[in-house]
C-alpha cells in the first residue's frame, strides 16, 4: 500500500476515534452544573475560532479585505433576517464584485 493510502486510512481511523470518544465514554450520565455551563459555551467559542482562522489562514497569510467585505455582507443581510443561503450568496457576490472591479 502506498503512503498516501496508509495516511488516508489512518486519518479515517483517528477521526472515528475522536468523534466516538465523548459519546462512548460519557454516555448519558448527567453532567455537573459547571461542566454543563462550559459545554453550552463551546459552540460560540469554536465557531468564533473557526471564522477567525478561516479568514486569517496560517500566520495571517490569507487575510484578504475582499473576504472581510463579503463576510460583512453576510452578517448585515442575516441581521435583516434574510435566509442563510441568501446571506452566503451576498457574501460571494460582494467578494467577487470587489475583486473584479476594484
Amino acid at each position: 500500500m502506498s503512503p498516501l493510502w496508509i495516511a488516508i486510512l489512518l486519518v479515517a481511523a483517528v477521526s472515528f476515534t475522536i468523534k466516538a470518544a465523548g459519546p462512548a465514554l460519557l454516555g448519558n450520565r448527567p453532567l455537573p452544573v459547571r461542566a454543563a455551563a462550559v459545554i453550552a459555551l463551546i459552540a460560540p467559542a469554536l465557531l468564533a475560532g473557526i471564522v477567525v482562522t478561516d479568514f486569517a489562514g496560517p500566520s495571517w497569510t490569507e487575510a484578504d479585505w475582499t473576504v472581510a467585505a463579503g463576510l460583512s455582507a453576510a452578517a448585515i443581510t442575516y441581521l435583516f433576517r434574510a435566509p442563510v443561503l441568501v446571506c452566503v450568496a451576498a457574501a460571494v457576490a460582494a467578494t467577487a464584485l470587489l475583486r473584479a472591479f476594484v
Partner: protein
C-alpha cells in the same frame, strides 16, 4: 442554531442549505489533490472515509509540503481534535449503549453540530443526523467532480467561492451570540485567542485554543442566568 424548528425535516432543510457550500469546498479539495498527483480514486475515498474538510485539507497540505505519513496524520488529528469537545457536548442527547453512541457520534460535523444546537448545551439529535446525511453525498460527489475537472485556484478566487465557508460559519455564530450576552463575551474572547494563536501555532491548534474561552462558563455559571 437557536431556531424552533426541530427534527429530521428541519435537518434536511439545513442540510440542503449546507449542501451548496459543502459541494463547492469538495470541488476545491478534489481539484487540489488531483493537482498534487492523488489521481481520482484516492481523493474520493478520502472524502468518503474521513468526511472532514478541514482535516482533509490539512492532510493534503502536509503531504504536499514533503511531510510523510506521520505529519499528514498528525496535522489532520490536530484539526479534528475539536470533535472531542463537540462530541462531549452532544453526548447527553444521543441514544443507546456505548457502541451505538460511538456510531451516532460520527454524525458530528461542524455545520450540522452547530445547526443542531438548541441552546444551553442541548442538541437536536435527529436534526444533526439528517443534516449530516445530506452533506455526505454533496461532499463525495463534489470531490469526484473536482478531481475529474480540476478547476484552478484562480477560478475559485475570481468568483469569490473561498468566502462560502467562513460566511456560513459566521451566520451560525450570529445565531449563537444573538441569544445571550455571555455567548457574545465568550465568542469575542475566542476570536481574540484564535487571532493571536494562529500567528504561532497551526490552524487546527488555534481553533482548539479558542475553545478555551468556553471555560468562562465556570466563572459565571452561578451568577448569570439572564441575558
Amino acid at each position: 442554531m437557536a431556531t424552533t424548528e426541530s427534527g429530521y425535516a428541519a435537518g434536511l432543510r439545513v442540510g440542503l442549505g449546507l449542501g451548496v457550500p459543502t459541494f463547492v469546498m469538495a470541488v476545491t479539495f478534489g481539484a487540489m489533490t488531483h493537482s498534487l498527483g492523488w489521481g481520482i480514486l484516492a481523493p474520493v475515498a478520502c472524502s468518503l472515509l474521513v468526511f472532514s474538510g478541514s482535516a482533509q485539507f490539512a492532510m493534503a497540505t502536509a503531504f504536499a509540503g514533503g511531510g510523510g505519513v506521520g505529519l499528514a496524520v498528525g496535522a489532520a488529528a490536530m484539526i479534528n481534535a475539536r470533535f472531542l469537545p463537540m462530541g462531549i457536548a452532544v453526548a447527553g442527547d444521543l441514544k443507546g449503549g456505548r457502541l451505538r453512541r460511538a456510531l451516532e457520534g460520527q454524525a458530528v460535523v461542524d455545520a450540522s453540530w452547530a445547526a443542531a444546537h438548541k441552546g444551553n448545551g442541548r442538541y437536536d439529535r435527529e436534526k444533526m443526523f439528517s443534516a449530516t446525511l445530506v452533506q455526505l453525498p454533496a461532499w463525495v460527489l463534489g470531490t469526484l467532480l473536482g478531481a475529474l475537472t480540476a478547476p484552478s485556484d484562480e477560478i475559485i478566487h475570481r468568483f469569490g467561492l473561498d468566502v462560502v465557508f467562513p460566511a456560513f460559519f459566521l451566520v451560525l455564530l450570529i445565531d449563537e451570540i444573538r441569544v445571550s450576552a455571555r455567548a457574545r463575551l465568550v465568542a469575542g474572547l475566542a476570536a481574540a485567542l484564535a487571532a493571536g494563536l494562529v500567528l504561532v501555532v497551526p490552524v487546527g491548534l488555534a481553533i482548539i485554543g479558542s475553545g478555551a474561552a468556553a471555560l468562562l462558563g465556570l466563572r459565571t455559571a452561578k451568577a448569570v442566568t439572564a441575558k
